[in-house]
């Protein structure tokens, strides 16, 4: 199972971290060892878990809204060539704007609460999902569309049975990118202006030179992001069940 390998890798990295800190004798306010960080995590667990919850709500809400918006945008563009002509340039141009630069503006407009962070996450998730889903929809096998036409299929059934399923692999790769990047959006939003969340906690811990707390928050965020990524990956693999036949051959080696 992939989890055992992950655990082994994680344990290995922790071990290396410990060795590095012991050998180099680096001061604890630059790089604390894994044990002080672990201790800090356990000591501050009640506070940390509250902040974790806030950040995770921001990420998940952003993920859901961003995915829905991205899919709607892609479907609109594929259904209406007229609208597509206007939306596609906007989509392309907006990808060029560094989303993180918008963080202060979002905090200004939406405040210190959850809304601005969710908006950040939505912005980061929307683009990869919309563009990969759209291009997936466009790359439907033209012979399949020809077959559907000859069978006298309407637009809706062609979309439902042929175009959307064939675009699912592309959508999945876009979503995987989005899920990997989504936590960044939430955390950056928290750095710019917030009163809760792991990003906020890290910033304040850093300001007070409580580096072990900072690393504890970072470790927690990393673990949470990994769990999120693998959960989404699992769901996507279930969704795109027809491609698992290939992976079954690899699984025999595991």
């Amino acid at each position: 199972m992939i989890f055992t390998r992950l655990v082994i890798v994680a344990a290995g990295l922790l071990f290396l971290w410990h060795i590095l800190v012991s050998i180099t004798g680096v001061p604890h306010y630059i790089l604390p060892g894994p044990f002080p960080v672990g201790k800090s995590m356990l000591q501050n667990w009640p506070v940390l878990s509250t902040h974790l919850l806030t950040t995770m709500i921001e990420i998940l809400a952003g993920l859901i809204i961003g995915t829905l918006l991205g899919c709607s945008c892609a479907l609109t563009m594929i259904l209406s060539p007229h609208l597509k002509r206007w939306m596609l340039p906007i989509l392309v141009v907006s990808q060029a704007i560094p989303v993180f630069a918008l963080a202060p503006i979002l905090v200004l407009w939406l405040g210190y609460g959850l809304a601005s962070k969710i908006a950040m996450a939505v912005l980061i998730i929307f683009f990869p999902v919309a563009s990969s889903f759209y291009y997936g929809l466009r790359r439907t096998d033209p012979d399949l569309l020809e077959l559907a036409r000859i069978m006298e299929a309407g637009t809706l059934s062609t979309l439902r049975y042929i175009v959307i399923p064939s675009a699912m692999p592309a959508f999945a790769s876009g979503l995987r990118v989005a899920v990997a990047v989504a936590p960044i959006g939430a955390v950056v939003g928290e750095w710019v202006g917030s009163s809760a969340g792991l990003g906020f906690y890290m910033l304040h811990a850093n300001a007070r030179m409580q580096v072990d707390k900072m690393f504890a928050a970072l470790a927690l965020l990393s673990v949470a992001s990994l769990i999120l990524y693998f959960s989404v990956d699992l769901i996507l693999n279930k969704l795109i069940y027809w491609e698992t036949t290939r992976e079954l051959n690899h699984a025999h080696n595991e």
């Binding site: 036409r149 000859i150 069978m151 006298e152 299929a153 049975y161 027809w242």
Partner: protein
């Protein structure tokens, strides 16, 4: 021996013929067809034999009603026995949807038209058994071999129950033995329907064609017509196959 469960009697009453009258088509400066007139006889299998790229596939698309090909002249069906599309189409690519199981792929037409019912499902099950695919009804296409997939594609085409079958090199991607088996199956199951089969294999044309139209040239024209006689599928030891194969081959090679 596959016994077709639903074959129409080849008495010509149900059979629909295709009439092309002075069809011309140009694309990007090249003239593909110029005043092409031909007739595809109802209830028989007509093979369009010719080299790749001469326009045979385009002709099939035109007959199937593709609105993005703007040609002059007329393509008509006689009689026009149903409203809507008179044709069912099958290509070299089996076009099976990987996310649907075999039964649903066979029933694809009905699904797309939101008209799937128990009668259709029974018919599909009957077809699958006839074709030797009964136990694969719930399998996904990915586990099937190329020959099995093309069999499913043939069944899907037959399920459409249209008077005209357009087949665009349906067996050319298969190995020789699978191809022969599938040709036999196709000949049995499409008996009585009007079939227009595009192929570049003269042997396939001789095995399956009641009439063979050799098509070549630029713009494409029918340069020869062969009528081998007898019933399809003809085997390699059939006299007419042996006699006409070299003639056909030389006709093709001289283009």
């Amino acid at each position: 021996m596959i016994v077709p469960a639903h074959a129409r009697k080849p008495d010509g009453l149900d059979a629909v013929s295709i009439v092309l009258d002075n069809v011309s088509l140009s694309f990007a400066g090249t003239v593909i067809f110029e005043n092409l007139s031909l007739q595809v006889e109802g209830g028989k299998c007509t093979c369009l034999l010719g080299p790749s790229g001469c326009g045979k596939s385009t002709l099939l698309k035109m007959i199937s009603g593709n609105t993005s090909i703007h040609y002059q002249g007329s393509i008509s069906f006689s009689p026009r026995s149903r409203r809507g599309n008179m044709t069912a189409w099958m290509s070299q690519n089996d076009l099976l949807l990987p996310w649907m199981d075999v039964e649903n792929n066979v029933l694809l037409g009905a699904k797309l038209r939101f008209k799937r019912d128990s009668h259709q499902r029974q018919q599909a099950a009957k077809f699958l058994t006839e074709a030797g695919l009964g136990e694969h009804a719930t399998s996904l296409p990915a586990v099937l071999s190329g020959g099995m997939r093309q069999r499913v594609a043939l069944l899907r085409t037959l399920m459409e129950d249209r008077p005209i079958l357009l087949m665009d090199e349906p067996f050319s991607a298969l190995d020789a033995l699978t191809r022969i088996k599938l040709q036999n199956m196709a000949a049995q199951m499409t008996r009585g329907k009007t079939v227009l089969l595009v192929t570049h294999d003269p042997m396939e044309a001789l095995r399956l064609g009641d009439k063979i139209l050799v098509m070549a040239g630029n713009p494409a024209k029918v340069t020869a017509i062969f009528e081998p006689g007898g019933t399809t599928p003809r085997n390699a030891d059939d006299g007419s196959v042996g006699k006409q194969y070299p003639l056909l081959l030389s006709k093709l090679l001289e283009q």
